[in-house]
């Protein structure tokens, strides 16, 4: 099976603690055809969680979106304020 590798950027409270300090950027390899939801599973993050903004290559995305090799994924704890909900 062919794999893809995506770069994941973890923001603020999603950073992973390591002995060398917080880890906020990591490459993750997944089977081709994987979705953002699969990536969230791999990171043990909830699939449907309105408190995290999902961003692929600079655009907001939803969990069903299929990932491609070399995608840049940002997982951002949502920071609201002022905007209508």
């Amino acid at each position: 099976m062919v794999n893809i590798t995506v770069t994941v950027h973890l923001h603020t409270t999603l950073q992973r603690p390591t002995p060398k300090g917080p880890l906020r950027r990591l490459d993750i390899t997944l089977p081709m055809g994987s979705t953002l939801a699969d990536l969230l599973d791999r990171l043990s993050l909830p699939r449907r969680d309105d408190s995290v903004l999902l961003v692929i290559n600079g655009r907001q995305a939803d969990a069903e979106q299929v990932l491609h090799d070399a995608d840049e994924v940002h997982l951002i704890p949502a920071l609201s304020g002022g905007v209508p909900t």
Binding site: H9, H11, T12, T13, Q15, G21, P22, R24, D50, S51, L53, V55, G58, R59, Q60, E72, H74, I76, P77, A78, L79, S80, G81, G82, V83, P84, T85
Partner: protein, 571 residues
Amino acid sequence: MEVWRVNLREQSLQREAVPEGWSRLGGRGLSARILLDEVPATCEPLGRHNKLVLAPGLLVGHMLTSCDRISFGAKSPMTRGIKEANAGGSTGLHMTNMGMKALILEDQCPADGNARSGWWILHLSLAGARFEPADDVVGLGVHETAPRLLKRYGEKVAIALIGPAGEMQLCAAGIQNLDKDRVPSRIAARGGLGAVMGSKRLKAVIFDDAGGKKPPIANREAFKAAQKVFTNNTLDHPQTKTYQEYGTPAMVRTCNAFGGLPTRNFSSGQFEGAETISGEHMRDLLLKRGGESETTHACMAGCVIQCSNTYGGEDGKAIVSPLEYETIGLLGSNLGIADLDTVARLNWEISDLGLDTIDMGAALGVAAEAGLMQFGDGERALQLLAEIRKGTPLGRILGHGAAMAGRVLGVLRVPVVKGQAMSAYEPRAIKGTGTTYVTSPQGADHTAGNTVRAKVDHLDAKANIATSRGAQINMAGFDTLGACIFAGFGFMVKPEVIPDLVNARYGWQVGADILQVLGRETLTLEREFNKRAGFTAADDRIPEYMRTEPLPPHNSVFDASESDLDSIFNW
């Protein structure tokens, strides 16, 4: 509550009953109402007919978390339209303790009289108003002025003051207020209200609330119950932790991810040095440095979010407090500077001069494009700021902000609307905030309705019209309540807590949509003032280059249709 009206020329105070038409407004909405009722919209902003209004929001005075903000308002010398800028700190709280619904500063202090310098300090207490010469503090930066005034008037007073830039009546000058630790860091920064105060020859206003008391509450039990719900919802919200730990600088990586981080005079939306100016990096750095560094700090007493910080240098000694996202965006990536220590030093200088970091960052970006400095050269940026302190012609040009700098230096890429610089969200990548910049009666200002946090495709101009409209209405509502933008997520858990609080405080029967009612009323008043000042749809436009020059990395332009922009307030 009363309206306190000070005639600066006569050095007299009148305490008046609140007119019926003003009683149901506070903060930004009340400021707009007063300006519309009393200030000729076509007046010279730095002349004697302009008035400086201070109005605490409707909910100020009860240590309700994140709800003690003070609004300053006047006709702006920068936009030449209506202006409101608000700040945290202790000024609003002291005013309400003294029973002030609003303070209206009229006319201008006399240039002669007891003050050799021609500059004055206005001292307000329950005993009334007195004027004292400002001779010993005139010309001083705010960081030296505030401790001197505290020594003279007592540690417990609140102070609103200007720096040298306000004295020079530079259009990017703001009005600073003391935070809960008495640092003059809480600036009503935007649109040149410091210049208006300077035009009145007023260096500082002292508020001594000794003998005062909290404003009355119509239904104490109901207020307490609503306050408890709001406080708990705010405390329990996951975002409170994020703001406490990272503060607004968390936005650096977010905006960079969206391709909307202003870089090198708004020529790119991504900065290769974003990592080292990020909130995450800043937190690591401050925790390592320790000393006076604080990753969490409250700007107002009673705030449970505490999003502010104290930025310490390598030796742990404070360089500046706070260091906020907008400042990092405009003085960091926008100047090609990837080093937070440099950004912090620039921030301290700009604050000490009493200037708005947003318009100054934008002005320096324009200066760099004009060849006055190289992007990335922090030392040169500091030299240019020193020109402002010296009051040289170049310094004064920069101190008037980006629009003036662009005009004088022959730069066409100037990120302003209505003469006021954009905040750290590129309108070609975050089009909802761009729509706010364009259509807000305040000129380009993210606090008038920022959409970066909305779940929306930020590149879709059409979809962002409604998002901007909603954000602008809500923000005008929050500004009228005296609520910080970050109180918003606490309120939104249970929005009915807003009418509950207002009704309990005042004994009114406002409906569930009070936030939007206040917001729409405020925007309507502001637009009417601007209309009378001569504004038309032509003023609600983005700089031309942002419609024609694609912005990397999305290679997008600002493409909201003019008809959508012109009908955004047709509710």
